[in-house]
Protein backbone atom coordinates (compact mmCIF):
# COMPACT_ATOMS: atom_id res chain seq x y z
CA UNK A 1 0.00 0.00 0.00
CA UNK A 2 0.99 3.61 -0.57
CA UNK A 3 -0.64 6.37 1.46
CA UNK A 4 -1.61 9.41 -0.65
CA UNK A 5 -2.47 12.74 0.98
CA UNK A 6 -3.91 16.00 -0.32
CA UNK A 7 -3.93 19.39 1.44
CA UNK A 8 -5.83 22.67 1.44
CA UNK A 9 -7.38 23.61 -1.92
CA UNK A 10 -6.28 20.37 -3.58
CA UNK A 11 -8.05 18.31 -0.91
CA UNK A 12 -11.25 20.31 -1.26
CA UNK A 13 -11.32 20.16 -5.05
CA UNK A 14 -10.75 16.38 -4.97
CA UNK A 15 -13.22 15.77 -2.15
CA UNK A 16 -10.82 13.56 -0.19
CA UNK A 17 -7.72 14.06 1.95
CA UNK A 18 -6.22 10.61 2.17
CA UNK A 19 -6.31 7.30 0.29
CA UNK A 20 -4.47 4.01 0.62
CA UNK A 21 -3.47 2.81 -2.85
CA UNK A 22 -2.70 -0.91 -3.18
CA UNK A 23 0.27 -2.02 -5.28
CA UNK A 24 -0.69 -5.25 -7.09
CA UNK A 25 1.96 -7.96 -6.75
CA UNK A 26 4.26 -8.06 -9.76
CA UNK A 27 3.23 -4.66 -11.14
CA UNK A 28 5.92 -1.97 -11.54
CA UNK A 29 6.39 0.45 -8.62
CA UNK A 30 4.51 3.71 -9.26
CA UNK A 31 5.81 7.29 -9.18
CA UNK A 32 3.91 10.30 -7.79
CA UNK A 33 3.10 11.24 -11.40
CA UNK A 34 1.51 7.79 -11.96
CA UNK A 35 -0.58 8.09 -8.81
CA UNK A 36 -1.75 11.61 -9.76
CA UNK A 37 -3.17 10.21 -13.02
CA UNK A 38 -4.39 6.95 -11.48
CA UNK A 39 -6.38 8.84 -8.81
CA UNK A 40 -7.96 11.06 -11.50
CA UNK A 41 -6.39 14.21 -10.10
CA UNK A 42 -5.46 15.26 -13.64
CA UNK A 43 -3.32 14.34 -16.60
CA UNK A 44 -0.01 15.71 -15.31
CA UNK A 45 0.97 17.32 -11.99
CA UNK A 46 0.70 21.12 -12.51
CA UNK A 47 3.98 23.00 -12.00
CA UNK A 48 2.72 24.88 -8.92
CA UNK A 49 1.90 21.61 -7.10
CA UNK A 50 4.81 20.19 -5.10
CA UNK A 51 5.33 16.56 -4.19
CA UNK A 52 6.50 15.18 -0.86
CA UNK A 53 7.51 11.59 -0.19
CA UNK A 54 7.73 10.54 3.45
CA UNK A 55 7.37 14.16 4.54
CA UNK A 56 10.26 15.56 2.50
CA UNK A 57 10.09 17.30 -0.89
CA UNK A 58 10.59 14.89 -3.79
CA UNK A 59 10.39 14.78 -7.58
CA UNK A 60 7.37 13.72 -9.64
CA UNK A 61 9.18 10.68 -10.99
CA UNK A 62 10.65 9.23 -7.81
CA UNK A 63 9.99 5.48 -7.63
CA UNK A 64 7.78 4.75 -4.61
CA UNK A 65 8.07 1.84 -2.19
CA UNK A 66 5.27 0.02 -0.37
CA UNK A 67 4.58 1.88 2.88
CA UNK A 68 5.61 5.26 1.46
CA UNK A 69 3.51 8.35 2.14
CA UNK A 70 3.05 10.63 -0.87
CA UNK A 71 1.58 14.12 -0.52
CA UNK A 72 0.53 16.64 -3.15
CA UNK A 73 0.98 20.22 -1.87
CA UNK A 74 -0.70 23.26 -3.40
CA UNK A 75 1.27 26.57 -3.34
CA UNK A 76 2.58 27.28 0.17
CA UNK A 77 1.46 30.45 1.95
CA UNK A 78 3.05 30.41 5.39
CA UNK A 79 4.32 33.04 7.79
Amino acid sequence: MIRVRLFAGLRERAGWGEQQVPIPAGSPLPTPAHLWRQLALGETIPPQVRVAVNQAFATDDQQLQPGDEVAFLPPISGG
Binding site: Q55, A56, F57, A71, I76, G78, G79
Partner: protein, 160 residues
Protein backbone atom coordinates in the same frame (compact mmCIF):
# COMPACT_ATOMS: atom_id res chain seq x y z
CA UNK B 1 9.53 20.82 20.59
CA UNK B 2 13.26 21.12 21.17
CA UNK B 3 15.56 19.65 18.59
CA UNK B 4 18.79 17.92 19.47
CA UNK B 5 21.73 20.01 18.28
CA UNK B 6 23.25 18.81 15.04
CA UNK B 7 26.95 17.95 15.06
CA UNK B 8 28.07 20.92 12.93
CA UNK B 9 26.67 23.48 15.36
CA UNK B 10 26.94 21.87 18.74
CA UNK B 11 26.14 25.04 20.68
CA UNK B 12 23.30 26.26 18.49
CA UNK B 13 19.96 25.63 20.08
CA UNK B 14 16.86 25.55 17.91
CA UNK B 15 13.37 25.77 19.36
CA UNK B 16 10.13 25.36 17.41
CA UNK B 17 6.57 25.79 18.60
CA UNK B 18 3.40 25.30 16.57
CA UNK B 19 0.57 26.96 18.46
CA UNK B 20 -3.05 25.82 17.99
CA UNK B 21 -4.18 28.87 20.00
CA UNK B 22 -3.16 32.51 20.41
CA UNK B 23 0.40 33.05 21.64
CA UNK B 24 2.27 36.04 23.04
CA UNK B 25 5.44 36.74 21.02
CA UNK B 26 7.12 38.72 23.81
CA UNK B 27 6.46 35.93 26.32
CA UNK B 28 8.01 33.49 23.83
CA UNK B 29 11.04 35.78 23.47
CA UNK B 30 11.40 36.09 27.24
CA UNK B 31 11.37 32.30 27.63
CA UNK B 32 13.89 31.92 24.80
CA UNK B 33 16.26 34.54 26.25
CA UNK B 34 16.10 32.87 29.66
CA UNK B 35 17.01 29.58 28.05
CA UNK B 36 20.01 31.13 26.31
CA UNK B 37 21.56 32.37 29.55
CA UNK B 38 20.21 29.60 31.81
CA UNK B 39 23.51 27.82 32.36
CA UNK B 40 25.28 31.09 33.20
CA UNK B 41 26.14 31.63 29.52
CA UNK B 42 26.72 35.19 28.35
CA UNK B 43 23.75 36.79 26.57
CA UNK B 44 24.33 36.89 22.79
CA UNK B 45 25.73 40.15 21.38
CA UNK B 46 23.07 40.33 18.65
CA UNK B 47 19.43 39.29 18.44
CA UNK B 48 17.05 39.87 15.54
CA UNK B 49 13.32 39.21 15.81
CA UNK B 50 10.41 39.33 13.41
CA UNK B 51 6.72 39.21 14.32
CA UNK B 52 4.04 38.77 11.65
CA UNK B 53 0.39 39.45 12.47
CA UNK B 54 -2.91 38.94 10.68
CA UNK B 55 -4.15 41.98 8.74
CA UNK B 56 -7.74 43.15 9.12
CA UNK B 57 -8.39 42.91 5.38
CA UNK B 58 -8.24 40.17 2.78
CA UNK B 59 -5.85 40.39 -0.18
CA UNK B 60 -8.72 41.93 -2.17
CA UNK B 61 -9.50 44.52 0.50
CA UNK B 62 -12.62 43.05 2.14
CA UNK B 63 -12.86 42.92 5.96
CA UNK B 64 -11.27 39.72 7.20
CA UNK B 65 -13.08 37.64 9.83
CA UNK B 66 -10.29 35.14 10.38
CA UNK B 67 -7.37 33.44 8.74
CA UNK B 68 -7.33 29.65 8.80
CA UNK B 69 -3.88 28.06 8.79
CA UNK B 70 -3.60 24.46 7.66
CA UNK B 71 -0.35 22.53 7.96
CA UNK B 72 1.02 19.04 7.31
CA UNK B 73 1.63 17.61 10.79
CA UNK B 74 5.02 15.94 10.85
CA UNK B 75 6.34 17.37 7.60
CA UNK B 76 5.85 21.00 8.67
CA UNK B 77 7.95 20.48 11.79
CA UNK B 78 10.56 18.43 9.93
CA UNK B 79 10.79 21.00 7.16
CA UNK B 80 11.21 23.94 9.58
CA UNK B 81 13.92 21.96 11.31
CA UNK B 82 15.78 21.41 8.01
CA UNK B 83 15.46 25.12 7.14
CA UNK B 84 16.64 26.24 10.58
CA UNK B 85 19.60 23.85 10.57
CA UNK B 86 20.71 25.04 7.13
CA UNK B 87 20.51 28.73 8.02
CA UNK B 88 22.09 28.23 11.44
CA UNK B 89 25.05 26.56 9.82
CA UNK B 90 25.32 29.04 6.92
CA UNK B 91 25.42 32.11 9.20
CA UNK B 92 27.03 30.57 12.28
CA UNK B 93 24.01 31.44 14.43
CA UNK B 94 24.04 30.82 18.17
CA UNK B 95 20.33 30.06 18.52
CA UNK B 96 17.06 30.11 16.61
CA UNK B 97 13.44 30.14 17.71
CA UNK B 98 10.39 29.80 15.47
CA UNK B 99 6.79 30.10 16.69
CA UNK B 100 3.99 29.61 14.17
CA UNK B 101 0.22 29.56 14.58
CA UNK B 102 -1.99 26.88 13.11
CA UNK B 103 -5.77 26.80 13.05
CA UNK B 104 -8.06 29.82 13.15
CA UNK B 105 -6.20 33.13 13.69
CA UNK B 106 -7.97 36.46 14.24
CA UNK B 107 -6.98 39.90 12.88
CA UNK B 108 -4.20 41.44 14.97
CA UNK B 109 -3.07 38.07 16.36
CA UNK B 110 0.50 36.92 15.78
CA UNK B 111 0.99 34.27 13.07
CA UNK B 112 4.75 33.95 13.20
CA UNK B 113 7.71 34.81 15.36
CA UNK B 114 11.28 34.29 14.17
CA UNK B 115 14.14 35.03 16.55
CA UNK B 116 17.83 34.45 15.95
CA UNK B 117 20.88 35.11 18.10
CA UNK B 118 24.40 35.59 16.81
CA UNK B 119 27.69 37.14 17.82
CA UNK B 120 27.35 40.00 15.31
CA UNK B 121 24.49 42.05 13.91
CA UNK B 122 25.01 41.06 10.25
CA UNK B 123 24.50 37.30 10.67
CA UNK B 124 21.61 37.91 13.10
CA UNK B 125 19.74 40.17 10.67
CA UNK B 126 20.54 38.23 7.51
CA UNK B 127 19.86 34.88 9.20
CA UNK B 128 16.50 36.10 10.49
CA UNK B 129 15.50 37.43 7.10
CA UNK B 130 16.45 34.25 5.27
CA UNK B 131 14.72 32.09 7.85
CA UNK B 132 11.48 34.03 7.43
CA UNK B 133 11.63 33.85 3.62
CA UNK B 134 12.36 30.13 3.73
CA UNK B 135 9.45 29.55 6.13
CA UNK B 136 7.13 31.40 3.79
CA UNK B 137 8.15 29.44 0.72
CA UNK B 138 9.42 26.08 1.94
CA UNK B 139 7.40 25.15 5.03
CA UNK B 140 4.00 23.54 4.32
CA UNK B 141 1.41 26.03 5.57
CA UNK B 142 -1.73 27.07 3.72
CA UNK B 143 -3.81 30.12 4.50
CA UNK B 144 -7.53 30.46 3.94
CA UNK B 145 -9.09 33.90 4.31
CA UNK B 146 -12.59 33.95 5.80
CA UNK B 147 -14.66 36.98 4.82
CA UNK B 148 -18.43 37.33 4.62
CA UNK B 149 -18.77 33.71 5.70
CA UNK B 150 -16.79 32.47 2.70
CA UNK B 151 -13.34 30.89 2.77
CA UNK B 152 -10.76 31.49 0.03
CA UNK B 153 -7.42 29.73 -0.16
CA UNK B 154 -4.50 32.12 -0.55
CA UNK B 155 -2.23 30.93 -3.33
CA UNK B 156 1.25 32.32 -2.70
CA UNK B 157 2.59 34.96 -0.35
CA UNK B 158 2.21 38.71 -0.06
CA UNK B 159 4.96 40.74 -1.72
CA UNK B 160 8.18 41.02 0.28
Amino acid sequence: MRWPSCPRSAAAERVLHLHPARFDPLAALAEWQQGLTAAGAEAPAAEAHFIGRVRGRTASGAPLEALELEHYPGMTEAQIERIAATITSRHGLLAVRVDHRVGRVLPGEAIVLVAVAADRRGPAQRGGQELLEALKHEAPFWKREWSGGLGTWVEGNTAF
